[in-house]
């Protein structure tokens, strides 16, 4: 299964290499990767998607946490709560005069923008989740895609919770409040 993992790391040189090295040394696969600074310039946020079974993904999470420069890790796919993912792509489409209108109409449907135009091509900028990206690519394919530049996935949780905050406490179900007291003995 594909897992979307967000990692907060120290914004230091070599940190990305450290994470990539961990993945390759332990033979895990990264499908996509996106890195950028956060509001706090000392912290960077890495979003990666990785495929693996439950045990493998659990190991990836543990190995990530073990890295000294990793501050916080969350696997959105397995964590409680909803999340949003987005990717962005620049798609250079073969655009002869007869196809131009059709391409632009398709782009409109996906709320994509035409960002460059030439006699033979149109370049479309599109953002969305993985499904949307695949859908527009599928529809543009018949015209002939000349080139594509696609980013890795970025992800964020819905609601006001932030990743930088301390471990999110799971919402207590009513009637379970007694349990911690029993643990005292």
């Amino acid at each position: 299964m594909k897992n979307t993992i967000s990692i907060l790391v120290e914004n230091k040189p070599g940190v990305l290499a450290r994470i990539a090295a961990m993945f390759s040394a332990r033979a895990y696969n990264i499908d996509s990767l996106a890195v950028a600074e956060t509001m706090d310039p000392t912290v960077s946020r890495i979003t990666c998607t990785a495929v693996g079974d439950k045990l493998e993904i659990e190991q990836i999470m543990k190995q990530l946490r073990k890295l000294i420069d990793v501050i916080r890790v969350i696997n959105f796919t397995t964590a409680n709560g909803d999340f949003i993912t987005r990717e962005m792509a620049l798609i250079k489409v073969n655009a002869q005069a007869k196809n131009r209108v059709e391409i632009m109409r398709t782009s409109d449907i996906f709320r994509a923008k035409i960002v460059d135009v030439s006699h033979e091509s149109l370049t479309v900028e599109v953002t969305g989740d993985e499904n949307k990206m695949n859908a527009i690519l599928e529809l543009l394919k018949p015209f002939g895609i000349l080139e594509i530049a696609r980013t890795g996935q970025v992800a964020i949780s819905r609601g006001s919770k932030r990743l930088i905050d301390r471990q999110q406490v799971p919402i207590k179900k009513p009637g379970r409040a007694k349990k911690p007291q029993q643990n005292k003995h």
């Binding site: 790391v9 120290e10 040189p13 070599g14 290499a17 450290r18 090295a21 961990m22 040394a25 045990l55 659990e58 190991q59 543990k62 190995q63 946490r65 073990k66 890295l67 000294i68 420069d69 990793v70 501050i71 643990n183 005292k184």
Partner: protein, 615 residues
Amino acid sequence: MFKQDLDPSALTDCRKTILSSEKRLSHRSSIVREAEMKKLTGAQIVWESLVREGVKFIFGFPGGAVINLYDELMNYPQIKHILVRHEQGAIHAADGYARSTGKTGVCLVTSGPGATNVVTGVTTAFMDSIPIVILTGQVATNQIGNDAFQEADIIGITRTCSKHNYLVKNTTDLAGTIREAFQIASTGRPGPVLVDLPKDVITGESPFNYPAKVQLRGYTTVTNGHPGQVKLAIREILKAKRPVIYAGGGIINSGGHKELAELAEIARIPVTLTLLGLGGFPANHPLFLGMLGMHGTYAANMAITNCDLLIAIGSRFDDRVTGKVEAFAPSARIIHIDIDPSSISKNLTVDVPIVGDAKNVLSRMIERLKEHGDFWKATRGPWLKEVGRFAEEHPVHYELSDDVIKPQFVIEQIHQLTKGQAIIATEVGQNQMWTAQFYQFTQPRTLLSSGGLGTMGYGLPAAIGAQLAFPDRIVFDIAGEGSFQMNVQELATAVQYQLPVKVAILNNQSLGMVRQWQELFFDKRYSETSLASQPDFAKLAEAYGAAGLRADHPEEVVPCLEKALSIQGPVVIDFHVDPEEKVFPMVPAGHGIDQMILAKPRKRIRKVVPLTFPS
């Protein structure tokens, strides 16, 4: 009286003296502060930092990139530098020092080849969780990436084989980085931390301020087990009819050997240890089963296979321990206590994980178990009897000979002559496994052996490191002639510092362990495992300035060892042993650990594991 106390003049007097003493104090601290704020060179900062970390020994080898550090070292007589003959020797010696003392070992090497030569040692320490701080020289920051002379990207090279590593880019960051390195190396699951020091960082200047503790937001270690999980573990122990404890290096690292013994005794649970755990539970204890795994005892492996509860403590289910994972403790519930969360459920899923320091968690478990009194009485009898029977059926043994020296006999004699009090380093291979089987370790930190990585050439430098830490103890390196030659140059180090390390070579003129595999699994096709062409080791030792002895006959073994022990300096004893001798039991690769190849029972055998269980 009261009046006098309240007398203003008396008060002022009193205040005056307090003030003046305060002034003196603050004056003194200001001198210290001044000294600390005075600009120091990077080289001075490195040594000042090491002094503050309490470093007494540093193992190293100089070179161009670290020449300023070596120059400054002459002003720090409180730090003794041990000049090795190869950088690999430096890091293994620091490793041996760390393993035998529990303190952080330190080594210093130059850039490029100096740095790449320590990589094997870094990985060795990483696999076995040994705290070492490695200082490597580096070309100046403006030359990094230019393929400069003796430049190597050691940070890139060691990224996945060290706990952490640093490239220091400014002299101002130096002190803080060294503090962080020591903190990371020695806490949590210990490990090697490498600090790369470019030449301009060492020659640059900065005010010196050594932080007492550094806060790392990405580095937290859980040392106390979760109380809920401990409770679950106790429930499992109370329920279990056939429990076994399987403990590893974590017992040694946490210093929890006493707690382990107490837990085993109050719950009457037999104990087996991994190679790195040996010494963590006394080998002469009636509840001890011996080592487990590929060359483990029949009793230990059968106990694991038949148990209904496995309590893993500070061990990581290494493949040399588990054999075929599916056949490892197949019917058991598993409790796993480990300080490293990533060790838990890595190789096999466990039922009760407890993340925490073994010593802390065990003492909590003991507290809880004591409330239940002699709960074990009702159920434990049959299990202990069964395990006792395993031990009696196939004890670890070998056949004595009057004509040829048996390697196991040599190890037994070393044990007897040193009364089991020696520190034993081993190389890797048959010598290592025989030592684990036949030297009865009763104290922690007395076995120094490369377990995870299996580094040949580890033993001699490690013995040197341990001997420095314990000048009054007997330190042996039990070696094979193959491994010994991999770092034989360190004999010169032992001679230079007059370290009375005793090297016992079990010389079978071959790479014995590989040969054993070839004999058993490759139709006796002995491909490239003969070491018949070899130096005269006694003469070689003498050439280095050490004493050299040789024994060819069983009768010579004891006199040779006695003579070696009577010699003040380093000694190499070349025991020409039976080349046909093999390590048994043995679990063939890919098999369950109950599928052992056992040594055939013979007439003249020696029982090694005395198992008399208390009922």
